[in-house]
């Protein structure tokens, strides 16, 4: 996935001279996860900027650039480091179109690695995407495959509105697949049915998708046909995809590694009960992290839901 993202940025820089990259260490080192590797050399110092360590400054400057007509792609190093920029995102990035009645817009992308599973230090394993999905005026996108990662990032850069682009850290180098060459886009706002099934629906996004797909494989060995849905965009959420599958299977398991209360899992459960209640054969099962700080390396595995918890939740739904 890291290479697909790098390709997307390379294509965007090559195709559109309004695109610029800025962030901490994105230039000469290619970013802490090397997503921008080689882009400074290839596109030059007037396109790729190493900035001072100042997340609010990075997003605020990118906002000004976008209003002036550029297409900046800002990188924040970890979701847990994004909070200094939260005010810029909530108070300005998500509001300028509304505040100016469309007169000024901020078509920027904020790329942020997120999620745990790599045993990193405190603040490096956060999955607080719900706070951005709750923010009006921005879109929130989370890819789970290299092909989607490239196509969604190119779509985000082309989007007329600001996009928070969350990259699952533990999938950066975990998934390998051939991705189409050159420029292509994957639509923002559309979930993807990864695998069709009739017995139970497994819904997730981003880093958890790998575990969800493994869980579906485990269930398949018992003859259970799980339908697997990758939300891909958290704001705006694809309500139709959620309710269509819920109505089809009557059983929904939604898996996120975020804190449980007020999570996207809660939102999915609400959508299911609003739009598919009378088709439901079991309560919606939420498989989530807990309302605790994400534990450090030694205990992290007890926090992040794995295949076991997803399979167990599916079985509970099937037995209901």
């Amino acid at each position: 996935m890291a290479r697909a993202l790098n390709e997307a940025l390379d294509v965007a820089l090559g195709n559109d001279d309004r695109v610029v990259l800025l962030g901490e260490d994105v230039g000469s080192t290619g970013g802490v996860f090397r997503i921008t590797d080689g882009l400074l050399e290839r596109h030059g110092p007037s396109r790729v900027f190493d900035t001072p360590v100042a997340e609010s400054g990075i997003v605020g400057a990118a906002f000004g650039m976008a209003v002036a007509g550029l297409r900046p792609v800002a990188e924040l190093q970890f979701l847990g480091f994004s909070y200094p920029a939260f005010d810029q995102i909530v108070s300005h990035v998500g509001r300028i179109r509304n505040r100016s009645n469309h007169r000024f817009t901020a078509p920027l992308v904020i790329r942020i690695p997120y999620g745990g599973g790599i045993g990193a230090a405190e603040h490096h394993s956060e999955s607080n995407e719900a706070i951005y999905a709750h923010t009006p005026g921005v879109k929130v996108v989370v890819p789970s495959s290299p092909t989607d990662a490239k196509g969604l990032l190119l779509a985000a850069i082309a989007d007329p509105d600001p996009v928070i682009f969350l990259e699952p850290i533990r999938l950066y180098r975990a998934v390998k697949e051939e991705v189409p060459e050159g420029h292509y886009t994957v639509p923002i706002g559309a979930a993807r049915v990864v695998g069709e099934g009739t017995d139970v629906t497994l819904i997730s996004y981003g880093a958890m998708m790998r575990d969800v797909i493994w869980a579906a494989d485990v269930l398949a060995t018992d003859g259970i046909a799980a339908e697997v849905i990758d939300l891909r965009t958290l704001a705006p959420l694809d309500h139709d995809a959620i309710s269509r599958s819920a109505a089809k299977t009557g059983r929904v398991v939604v898996a996120v590694e975020a804190h449980r209360s007020g999570s996207l899992a809660s939102e999915v459960a609400a959508i299911v009960q609003e739009r598919a209640l009378y088709s439901m054969l079991a309560p919606v099962e939420r498989v989530t992290g807990y309302d605790t700080v994400v534990p450090l390396k030694r205990s992290e595995k007890h926090y992040i839901p794995g295949v076991g918890r997803i399979v167990a939740a599916a079985r509970r739904a099937l037995e209901a």
Binding site: P52, A54, A61, A68, P84, D87, H92, F104
Partner: protein, 347 residues
């Protein structure tokens, strides 16, 4: 550090005037007009025709004396107290009023006017002027960006990030601090232990200038130098305009709870409009009939602006959904339908 001053408090010219008498008359008329607007805004609020209004009385020279240094296509990012600067740079009175009436359509200045709608939160907008100017440079344009903010905003972390970014990337940005002595109830002396705000520029590696903000000619001279430097690729400048907030923070504030009236009376003797009037009188360029005409025209123009703003077709109940994205999302469209269902209206 003594502030740059070209006009003494009594209107005597004590330096080299950066502009001729005709231009001074034009700017004097603009200051008079801005004050008519400011008093009208305050009156309209008392009549319940505006929501909260933030007066800028006393800061007319700081705003118009700086805005005049800009080219029409330059960027401006200011606050809720910068209506005079915004208007002088092309925002219209009716749009400014509309915003204060609580109508988002007031946030859209006319096409070609590069003035962002006022920032209501304190301090977050300074970095925008860094990004705006930076983008212009990257595109090979020589537009610059100016940002207006108060002494209180310099305590925000974003002031530091904006100043630092601007200096590191040498962006064409002018930081115009209107030090009006007060951040709601907090006096300047308790806002920072620095002797001046201008001196903070040193730490960032950019020029800092202290100016008598109630001196129109000094404001023109200092801002012109900063704008010229930015346009020529010389990077950012911090200008501290020493002025005074003559009115309460906003129409909801009672300044009597935290400051003595004597300060206000003392500053009234340094009134920026009065000072230019005395200067023009001394040069034989002013007469009462002319100023009366200026005031009358301002009153008529602003009355017409109020009329335009108040007679605008009311916003549809679902207009909020149309402003969020280039096209409303499916989620918003579903919520739009709910508004009509719940309010019993029809589209």
């Amino acid at each position: 550090m003594d502030p740059l001053r070209l006009l003494a408090v009594d209107g005597r010219l004590i330096g080299e005037a950066p502009i001729g008498l005709d231009e001074t008359l034009r700017l004097f008329a603009a200051m008079v007009t801005a004050r008519v607007y400011d008093r009208k805004g305050s009156a309209l609020q008392r009549q319940g025709r505006l929501a909260t209004y933030a007066q800028f009385e006393g800061q007319e020279a700081a705003q118009i004396g700086s805005a005049v240094a800009l080219r029409p296509d330059d960027w401006m990012a200011g606050t809720y107290r910068d209506a005079a600067a915004m208007w002088f740079h092309g925002y219209t009175w009716d749009k400014l009023l509309l915003g204060r009436m609580g109508d988002e359509r007031g946030g859209a200045p006319p096409a070609g006017v590069n003035v962002l709608p006022p920032s209501i939160t304190v301090g977050g907008h300074m970095i925008h002027a860094v990004g705006l100017g930076w983008a212009e440079r990257l595109r090979g344009s020589d537009r610059i960006a100016i940002t207006y903010f108060g002494d209180g905003a310099t305590s925000e972390g974003d002031f530091h990030e904006a100043m630092n970014f601007a200096a590191v990337f040498k962006t064409p940005t002018v930081f115009l601090c209107e030090n009006n002595g007060w951040a709601i109830s907090m006096p300047r002396a308790r806002q920072t232990s620095s002797e001046t705000i201008a001196q903070k520029a040193d730490a960032y590696g950019m020029p800092g200038v202290l100016v008598d903000g109630n001196d129109l000619l000094a404001m023109v001279a200092a801002t012109r130098e900063a704008v010229d430097r930015a346009r020529a690729g010389g990077g950012p400048t911090l200008i501290e305009a020493l002025t005074y907030r003559m009115a309460p923070h906003t129409t909801t504030d009672d300044a009597g709870r935290y400051r003595a009236g004597e300060d206000v009376e003392e500053w009234r003797t340094q009134d920026p409009i009065e000072r230019v009037r005395e200067y023009l009188k001394g040069a034989g360029a002013w007469n009462q009939a002319w100023e009366d005409d200026v005031s009358a025209k301002a009153a008529a123009d602003i009355e017409a602006a109020v009329e335009r703003a108040e007679s605008l077709t009311p916003l549809s109940p679902d207009a909020m959904f149309d402003r969020m994205y280039a096209r409303p999302t499916a989620v918003l469209e579903a919520q739009r339908r709910a508004v009509f269902r719940d309010e019993g209206g029809g589209a």
